[in-house]
């Protein structure tokens, strides 16, 4: 069964990467959103390995079920696929740039990875149950809990002002 879990883990990694590649390389914008949805589903699967099923379900509910829908509507409101993205040619400069940035990133990673003291996830797993999350929201971090609603209120108000301002200008 452990083998099964490993296989599924790498399955999710591949899913995340494929989705991300699809999202970046898509020529039609809607395909990009679908790739993003696939990638987010993969990330949701990875959260499970960190021991938080609640986070997994929320990732599916919020990111796939809500954010992708908002993106989709954003596309429907103001985009036509006639504006197909131009394919960036892979010239020699691009190749050299890729090589340079890739090697720089690699050496930085090696330096950072060598100095970090890694603790396996299994050893630092705390209590990620939904009850624990709820208790810390209500008792320990109650101010943060209330601030969340303020932040979201501001987000909604801002969204309404931005979207409606655009329309009023258009109709005049």
């Amino acid at each position: 069964m452990n083998l099964m879990m490993e296989v599924l883990f790498f399955g999710f990694v591949v899913l995340t990467m494929t989705g991300a590649l699809l999202a970046v390389r898509a020529k039609i914008l809607m395909h990009g959103v679908l790739g993003l949805a696939v990638s987010l589903l993969g990330v949701a699967g990875l959260y499970l390995y960190l021991g938080s099923p609640f986070l997994t379900l929320m990732q599916v509910l919020i990111y796939v079920g809500a954010i992708c829908v908002v993106l989709v509507f954003g596309i429907m409101v103001g985009y036509t696929p006639n504006e197909v993205a131009e394919k960036v040619p892979m010239g020699r400069n691009a190749l050299l740039g890729l090589l340079a940035s890739g090697s720089a990133a690699f050496f930085l990673m090696v330096m950072v990875l060598g100095r970090t003291h890694w603790v396996p996830a299994a050893h630092r797993v705390g209590d990620f149950s939904i009850e624990h999350v709820g208790e810390s929201l209500l008792l320990t971090w109650c101010l943060a809990f209330e601030m969340i609603s303020v932040v979201l209120l501001i987000a909604i108000v801002g969204a309404i002002i931005l979207a409606r301002g655009g329309r009023e200008e258009g109709s005049q």
Partner: protein, 129 residues
Amino acid sequence: MSSVLAIDYMYVMFFIFGGLLTAFLPFVIAWLIRPKTVVTNRSHQTYECGIEPFNQMWDYRFGISYYLYALIFLAFDVDVLYLFPVVTVFDRVSAVRGVSEFFIFIGILSLAVIYAWTKGVFTWEKKKA
């Protein structure tokens, strides 16, 4: 990952793959026994009440109202996310504290609906022809 969670996980994964397979297999059967009828020029046309389709659907744009509704929904959804864990432990906190925190949170949340309402997001203007 605990053992219970691992088995839950196996069940869900099995159901996902099984569901995909169950949906896919009949397509194979359908492909095998499909009728090989003559395909005319119009067989693969998109349906448009009998007239020749004009333009791609992708070229059209939708009203901003849809987007606004989606944005408000998104914020609400995230709000409800934080209520999910809170309601399970609501009996463990003292009455005054629990109720007041809950009221403040929902109160601020309701301001969003009130704002959108007064700003007329929910009123649909008649299209000026």
